[in-house]
């Protein structure tokens, strides 16, 4: 983990490719901070871009990515992980000389691979990033400027990353209230597989499991408050999460395997009436969770 010098962030023209919850919230927050002169929205489909224009999130938009990035000094790629490779391929060679390129993907190994494939190496002015923020909602309508406040943003710069480009991306996220940390690509992917991707898989699998039971209508009727909280993340965007499963497959499967083993041990303890083990698991988990949050 290393630190770069923080400072003032300002963009003359920021292009955000993919104006959804994350892209939209970033732009709203930068506008609120007076940190950007002009915002250009870009994306494949026009409807969400028009919506972003109506909401005042972008000043103009273009479905032609090459036109959209022209003259931008900051380009933020905020599309689902599975679309990042195609976006990089489209804008390659069309970025301004002073442009810094970054992304917000929740896996970083796949994004770095995409960059290597497109550019033949990781461009010095490309800074892989990941704001650890979000809700189960999607789309620019759900975006709000406070999304990144008191949240962490992880940057995974490489040896070839330009220190000034890194500094610009760092100060951009600090400007919207985020605490910025740096770590290695693989480490990021392992940590996020455990803390974010695994819980999402469990929430999806739980709702799927219950929806497959014969008396599902009645079962859902008797779900209590805990169930509502527990399954909230199962309302997340299926396409975004499919992409996460592809992009972070290896790290995700590793932690899923560990979880399944742990669950199997708990099941065996319940089955054999080994209440000491059951209580110990619950107590360790409660202690860890209570230490983490006070709510």
């Amino acid at each position: 983990m290393s630190e770069t010098t923080s400072g003032h962030f300002h963009s003359r023209r920021l292009c955000v490719i993919g104006v959804g919850l994350i892209g939209g919230s970033l732009v709203r927050a930068l506008r609120a901070a007076g940190a950007v002169d002009e915002v250009v929205g870009a994306g494949r489909r026009e409807a969400p871009l028009r919506k972003a224009l109506e909401l005042g999130v972008v000043d103009r938009y273009d479905t032609d990515l090459v036109a959209a990035v022209a003259g931008a000094d900051m380009v933020v790629v905020a599309v689902p992980l599975g679309a990042i490779g195609a976006v990089l391929a489209t804008v390659a060679g069309h970025l301004a000389d002073d442009a810094v390129l970054t992304d917000v993907g929740s896996a970083k190994g796949s994004v770095v691979s995409d960059a290597v494939r497109v550019f033949g190496g990781v461009p010095p002015r490309f800074v892989p990033g990941h704001p650890i923020a979000g809700t189960e909602k999607s789309g620019v309508e759900a975006s709000f400027p406070e999304l990144f406040q008191h949240r962490r943003t992880i940057l995974t710069p490489l040896l070839e990353t330009d220190i000034h480009a890194l500094g610009r991306v760092r100060t951009m996220w600090e400007t919207v209230g985020s605490e910025v940390v740096e770590m290695g690509v693989q480490h990021h992917d392992a940590v996020l597989a455990a803390t974010s991707h695994l819980p999402h898989m469990l929430a999806y699998a739980l709702v799927e499991c219950l929806a497959n039971l014969d008396d599902r209508a009645e079962i859902f009727r008797y779900a209590a408050g805990g169930f509502r909280d527990f399954t909230r993340i199962a309302s997340s965007d299926p396409v975004m999460w499919r992409d996460v499963c592809v992009a972070n497959r290896e790290a995700l499967l590793a932690v899923l395997g560990r979880f399944r083993d742990d669950l199997g041990r708990l099941m065996a303890a319940i089955d054999t009436g080994d209440t000491d083990t059951v209580t110990a698991v619950f107590q360790r988990a409660k202690t860890a969770r209570d230490n983490l949050y006070r709510d």
Copy 2:
């Protein structure tokens, strides 16, 4: 499912055995409704009872259960499932002739078995009950009168259950704002295993899994908002939940097995890059969850 006549609930002397989150909240709500003249707290340990007296939740208390239930026309057993059998054995033969006995255990088969063992059959004036309400907190300090509002309470009367006793327990729960439904014992246990007991096992197992990883300190640091909600129920009382695992072992293991199979299928789809299956699971889960809640 059958309906009994609702009406006005009033207790001259209510004895609550186990004055924790549920017992304390029930009494607070009944007091707020002016539905009870005198409340006697009872339990094994004196400290929580003294606390309940200080908080004005009970009018007096006794660690001698036989003395505590004397003259009470309503006796609510609100101790963890594993302690219900011993409570029933202690009070058997000491209840007033007009006393109605009920419990709040989150599994009902084990409670009915306890009653059969203690009384040689289910007493007509014993009404097994379960308010589907709670938080991850425990203890009388965490109790509050609104806990049961807009929540469901399930009663699992048996053929031998006295219709008037059933009516009294029903109106008691309606008085505190709960919607009362009746269902069979086994059906209750299967439904609750799926909607409540299974999610708790997953939350405990997830936190346990992450706490066992080498870089656990760092991993917990990068947990985002979804993780906080998802793991809230892992802060629940370990002893109470150990008892649930013992009491509802069969139904819980059945649904845990189904979940583990579903999770295995999802893992296989991720492993083989079967994105159609992955997306379909996520989409079905999202649709089911979105239909259930608007948040």
